[in-house]
Subunit: 334 residues, 2 copies
């Protein structure tokens, strides 16, 4: 028995159930009566209503992350935790790893902890694009509590998501590199997540609109480690490239180290663009041009959405997107 | 009613209570009977016994950290989570910030989540040395579940701790710098935590044993940010120093940036040593000599101790220490 069952039995959407429970006046008296009858008959007060009813809530958000040692994810958690704490909410966190089965199992674990809502950090939760069914576990969780996906778009009732415009940002930097005369732009990624796919799509779009071919040899998948990236690039002795775009700063810093090892000048011989604008971008020399994916804003918006949803307010947009920002430093000449 | 009460009523230590409940044969029949009588009379099965009795356990560890965006802490959590998961344990995490009141409150929050044991990551939990009472909240928590402190030593029944030899490591690098003729060694720290105090003590011991004065102007407290450190050092125009040791890599990378801005050669004009051997040490140029505080080993030992304690095994050492390792790279000439 959950909010879906109530909605189904009353013949309304879960948003309507939520509004009724939270006393919104946007619902007709007739609908309100029908919903309340079902709720009373079933004697049920699920978590999602708890805040509005002042019942049964622990004021706790569940946050799930695949890899907490990742700079992007740990900074997102830090922002979320601070925002939720300011609203009097505690956080409990789980680390799920990247395996589908483990992600679904950790969602269940967090649901068992009496959380009021679930936040999934990182586009790994949005599946790798092979099948819609990969994200069924998210819709199932959303039958119990509202679910918020950060950096990945998932459709479903009671599912909300926030993404930054990775595709547009990568298209924009690729365009800028092409405009400055770069001919062979290497794309480095460590993942096939939703956001990695968006970034690759933006890279390919910029090439295609400029009438350039998308070359398989210029798209490398590798580990997001500085020295591992440097060493791999050193092994590709006959691979010609005059620019690098990477889906994370770690690989981009590896490209900076590669340039030093090969005696290449940055940015003259090689332009390099990282992603996530992490502390690595500032630590390296020359300092790295990187794409700021606005973690702080995305987390702030998510906390706002979380609070409004728990209060039963009508949320105009279930999926929102913020624009990335290109932070120009010394590894590019645009 | 908790394990302390049982122990007190039976007139034995909590270790003995734990052994009795877990069927250890190291307890005399007489003691065993006395303890079981108290437990049966009180009808009580606290969390700490749950594993042994197969009752009431959620197989969940609570982990508390002051700042999850800190590289050291997030990597520790990652190791702990992996180790505990391998033993079938889930983790719930809290972020407490650094304020005493908030740390104590977050401990209570985690205890309310039916955890089997509590792991506190980071020496901030061990107090700033002003008073023993700062850590009372840890001993109070230990009355409910075993508590494990990582990177800080706290005394108390049912309290375990793991530290790395920060004092010895800092003494060793300071000695090495002095041996190579460095005369004015700047000590940079962002904290007054247990481990920061240990590091400073090691620095001072090396100076004192070499007959050098400990100078107040050569000990700076600042924010652990790369550019902030560089800019601060640039402002100290008349501060003379030929080496820098820092309690975290972020500040040491800031010193590398400072040297570049001043046109100083590394390591000729300036030796620099960081701490934590994070990815920042590898990202910067020249790459940073840093002290590896063995996070992975400490976390592995802690997980091992956690499991043994929950199984009711006798743990020979409640406090253990591993030695740090100096990772020599290109910012030192020793």
């Amino acid at each position: 028995m959950n909010i879906y069952d109530i909605a189904k039995m009353a013949g309304v959407s879960i948003a309507t159930v939520s509004r009724v429970v939270n006393g919104s006046d946007k619902v007709s008296e007739k609908t309100k009566r029908r919903v309340m009858e079902v709720i009373e008959k079933e004697g049920y007060t699920p978590n999602v209503f708890a805040q509005g009813l002042g019942l049964n809530t622990m004021h706790t958000a569940g946050i799930l992350v695949p890899d907490i040692s990742d700079l992007y994810m740990s900074s997102a958690i830090s922002f979320l935790e601070e925002g939720l704490r300011n609203h009097g909410y505690n956080c409990i966190l789980g680390c799920s790893g990247f395996r589908q089965e483990s992600m679904a199992q950790h969602v269940q674990m967090l649901l068992s902890k009496k959380i009021d809502g679930l936040i999934l950090v990182g586009s790994a939760y949005a599946g790798n694009g092979a099948s819609e069914r990969e994200t069924d576990y998210i819709r199932e969780a959303a039958a119990q509590v509202p679910v918020f996906v950060i950096n990945g778009a998932v459709q479903g009732e009671n599912v909300f998501s926030a993404v930054c415009g990775d595709r547009e940002a990568m298209r924009e930097v690729t365009r800028a590199l092409l405009r400055r005369g770069r001919k062979r732009i290497l794309f480095l990624t460590d993942s096939e997540s939703y956001s990695a796919r968006e970034k690759m799509a933006g890279y390919e779009e910029a090439l295609t609109e400029a009438g350039r071919p998308v070359l398989g040899e210029l798209k490398l998948k590798l580990r997001n480690r500085i020295h591992a990236t440097r060493d791999l690039l050193l092994q590709y002795r006959n691979l010609d490239f005059d620019a690098v775009v990477a889906t994370d700063d770690g690989m981009a810093v590896g490209a900076v180290k590669y340039a030093a090892a090969r005696g290449l000048s940055i940015p003259e011989d090689l332009n390099i663009v990282g992603y996530n604008n992490s502390s690595l971008a500032v630590a390296c020399e020359p300092e790295l041009t990187s794409i700021d994916n606005r973690t702080e804003e995305i987390c702030r918006e998510t906390v706002d959405l979380f609070m409004r949803t728990l209060r039963g307010e009508t949320v105009p947009e279930k999926h929102f997107s913020v624009s990335c920002r290109i932070v120009k430093r010394n590894t590019t000449d645009f």
